[in-house]
């Protein structure tokens, strides 16, 4: 658990982050979203003290981060940035091994970890370990960047617009991968982005920032149904807010016992996708199936619609 307690950063008379407070749950993805200049990156960088706070505290599992040398703190916290920041003069394996080497892991353990991570990120160790970053595609470089951030098994991973430089298709894949990674390693991830769709897709909680202040920190659905501020409504967009809300719930969560002659819908599909399928087929209800294709209930258009409005 990370507690951000009245954290502020001032440069001269300019206040970049103003009294930000939030509690970040363990084993979850928390997204900080805002326009450029909102202070979101500065807030993230105060967590690993790349920026020293002017006032306020950050506690990780109850321990004040200011109490230990900044470079030792950072070795315990993963850090991935936009444009990956890979070292061009080191191979993929050497890049990933950076923090384990700083921590003094022995050779065999470093090797095993590098191979494991390359496997997790669908990069064949035999092919990729010895390559230099410039020999990889943009998507591969980004994956190596995240693998490097995870190398020393950090409990916390900070990501600053990690997918900003990727094209939409690779970006969607990278987002799916991140959700898998989070579940696999049970990492606490804090991610900064300016893209509200990315925030909704990844975040179990989302903080909306503007002009240095955290305007609202809540579950994505609450940002849509109970915006605390007109700026939050503008950020989330009001034209398709019903559809956004539907995209936050899966068919499996809403399915009720019963059967249907309609089309089948995967339990993991969002209500938005399920509704789209029903509209397309002209059906009133769908059969929900689990990952093994076994029926596990049915879903009606009315039930879906009921989830698309507040309250």
């Amino acid at each position: 658990m990370i507690t951000v307690d009245k954290l502020s950063k001032r440069y001269g008379t300019t206040t970049v982050v103003d009294q930000a407070s939030m509690v970040i749950e363990r084993n979850s993805i928390t997204v900080i979203v805002g326009t450029s200049g909102s202070g979101k990156s500065t807030l993230l960088r105060m967590i690993n003290r790349l920026v020293e706070p002017s006032s306020g505290r950050v506690l990780i599992d109850g321990n004040d981060t200011a109490r230990e040398p900044a470079h030792l703190l950072r070795r315990r916290i993963g850090y991935a940035i936009q444009g990956h920041g890979l070292f061009p003069h080191r191979t993929v394996a050497e890049n990933i091994a950076t923090v384990p080497r700083l921590l003094g892991w022995d050779q065999a353990r470093v090797r095993a970890r590098v191979d494991e991570l390359l496997g997790v990120f669908q990069l064949d160790p035999a092919e990729f370990a010895g390559k230099f970053p410039h020999q990889l595609s943009g998507g591969q470089q980004q994956r190596v960047g995240v693998a490097r951030a995870l190398a020393a098994e950090p409990a916390v991973l900070l990501m600053d617009e990690p997918f900003g430089a990727l094209d939409p298709i690779i970006r969607a894949k990278a987002q799916d991968d991140l959700l898998d990674i989070q579940r696999r390693f049970a990492t606490t991830i804090v991610l900064v982005t300016h893209d509200m769709d990315e925030a909704f897709r990844l975040g179990s909680r989302v903080a909306v920032m503007s002009q240095g202040r955290v305007l609202q920190y809540d579950r994505p659905a609450a940002l849509l149904t109970r915006p605390a501020d007109p700026f939050v409504s503008r950020m989330t967009g009001s034209a398709d807010r019903a559809m956004k809300l539907l995209s936050l719930t899966t068919a499996g969560e809403v399915a009720v016992p019963g059967s249907s002659n309609g089309p089948t819908v995967a339990a993991s599909a969002s209500l938005r996708d399920a509704l789209s399928e029903l509209v397309w087929r002209g059906a009133e209800s769908a059969a929900v199936v689990d990952a093994n294709g076994m029926p596990c209930g049915c879903l009606t258009v009315a039930a879906i619609l009921a989830h698309g409005r507040p309250g």
Binding site: G83, L86, F87, T98, V99, L102
Partner: protein
């Protein structure tokens, strides 16, 4: 596949070589080391059979230069040319020197030098076209140096005027070469020790950059002889005032002002290249390095300087080659080095003695350039 195109560089080399053979003296026979001598052409000097063999080889070289496009063939032909020209001058020395006479001088004439430059140009052009890897280039240099030194040690050129001067100065020669290399490397070493931190400081504190680089630029524009003169007075005063300085060998003349002047000249290229190299390092890589918990020192050495190293080494290469040349001037103020022979030769109007200083200086500078270029290229290949 036959190509009937005439190689432009080959045409130039052939024309220049032929002109040198026809109109310029291949050797000059002097009654002693100072008096002017008689110019002799290659044909007039060598025995007829040797002349024919020699000309036949040179015609082959010219044909290869004109018509062959394959770099290995061109290189082999150029090397044959170098060997023929060297053999011819060696034979000329043996033929023209009366037995037991140690006064007569057989000096290579302008025709020899132009011919040597022509085949040398052809060889370097062929090597450029071969695009050898850095290690191969160093190997070629080492082979060439080994063959040349072997020929010299074997006495192949002992009857030539330059080697006569060497025979007279043999004891001093080794000492002056060492002094030359020591002055060049010593000033470079101290300059790197100062310039590297200065460059890092200029990178970190942009406000300093203009002033520091501006000052070093002004130093660079002072002519070497003027700088030696400027340094004489303060260093002389220092030696007079501080006995310890005098004991350490610091005086107004000698090696001290030479090293100080060369040190000052060395600063600008190293500082400027350090700043340029650090500027090129990707800010994202530095940010990631800090974010992963490297200390400032680890970021500086492991990321910033590592990435800037090829650029910094390029600066060091410039300085080393420049210093090897400039050390020659240090002889004027008693600094020693190969310049001693150059200035003594000028004083005695003995051009052979000048060459004894000048040729090894050029060879040293050339070797240093090849070596450091190879190091820089190896690094760039490894990391792009």
């Amino acid at each position: 596949m036959t190509q009937h195109r005439i190689d432009p560089l080959g045409a130039l080399v052939t024309a220049v070589g032929a002109a040198a053979l026809l109109w310029l003296p291949f050797v000059v026979l002097k009654p002693n080391r100072i008096l002017p001598g008689d110019a002799r052409s290659l044909i007039a000097v060598l025995p007829p059979s040797t002349t024919i063999a020699c000309l036949a080889c040179l015609i082959l070289v010219a044909l290869a230069a004109l018509a062959m496009s394959k770099p290995p063939v061109r290189l082999a032909a150029a090397l044959l040319g170098v060997i023929v020209v060297a053999a011819a001058i060696s034979t000329a020395g043996d033929v023209l020197t009366p037995p037991g006479n140690r006064v007569v001088r057989v000096a290579p004439g302008s025709g020899f030098w132009v011919l040597l430059v022509a085949v040398g140009l052809m060889a370097t052009d062929a090597i450029t076209r071969l695009r050898p890897r850095p290690a191969a280039r160093v190997l070629m240099l080492a082979l060439f140096a080994a063959v040349t030194l072997f020929a010299l040690a074997h006495g192949t050129f002992d009857h030539l005027s330059v080697m006569r001067e060497y025979a007279v100065n043999a004891g001093r020669f080794a000492h002056e070469v060492r002094q030359h290399v020591w002055l060049a490397l010593g000033s470079l070493g101290t300059a790197v020790i100062v310039a590297l931190p200065l460059g890092i400081l200029c990178h970190r504190v942009p406000r300093l950059r203009g002033g520091v680089l501006g000052t070093l630029n002004v130093i660079q524009t002072i002519p070497a002889i003027a700088l030696f003169g400027i340094l004489m007075a303060p260093l002389g005063a220092l030696a007079a005032a501080v006995p310890l300085a005098a004991q350490l060998g610091i005086r107004g003349i000698g090696a001290a002002p030479a090293v100080v002047a060369l040190f000052l000249y060395s600063l600008l290229p190293v500082v400027a290249n350090t700043v340029a190299g650090l500027k090129r390092v990707s800010p994202a890589a530095v940010e990631a390095a800090r974010g992963m918990g490297m200390t400032s020192w680890q970021v500086l050495t492991g990321v910033e300087l590592s990435l800037a190293l090829p650029t910094i080494l390029t600066g060091i290469r410039i300085v080393l080659v420049q210093n090897i040349g400039l050390v020659t001037v240090a002889a004027l103020i008693g600094g020693g080095g190969l310049g001693v022979f150059v200035f003594q030769g000028i004083g005695q109007t003995a051009i052979d003695l000048v060459l004894l200083g000048a040729i090894p200086t050029v060879a040293l500078a050339f070797s240093a350039a090849v070596l450091l270029d190879a190091v820089v290229e190896t690094m760039n290949r490894a990391r792009q």
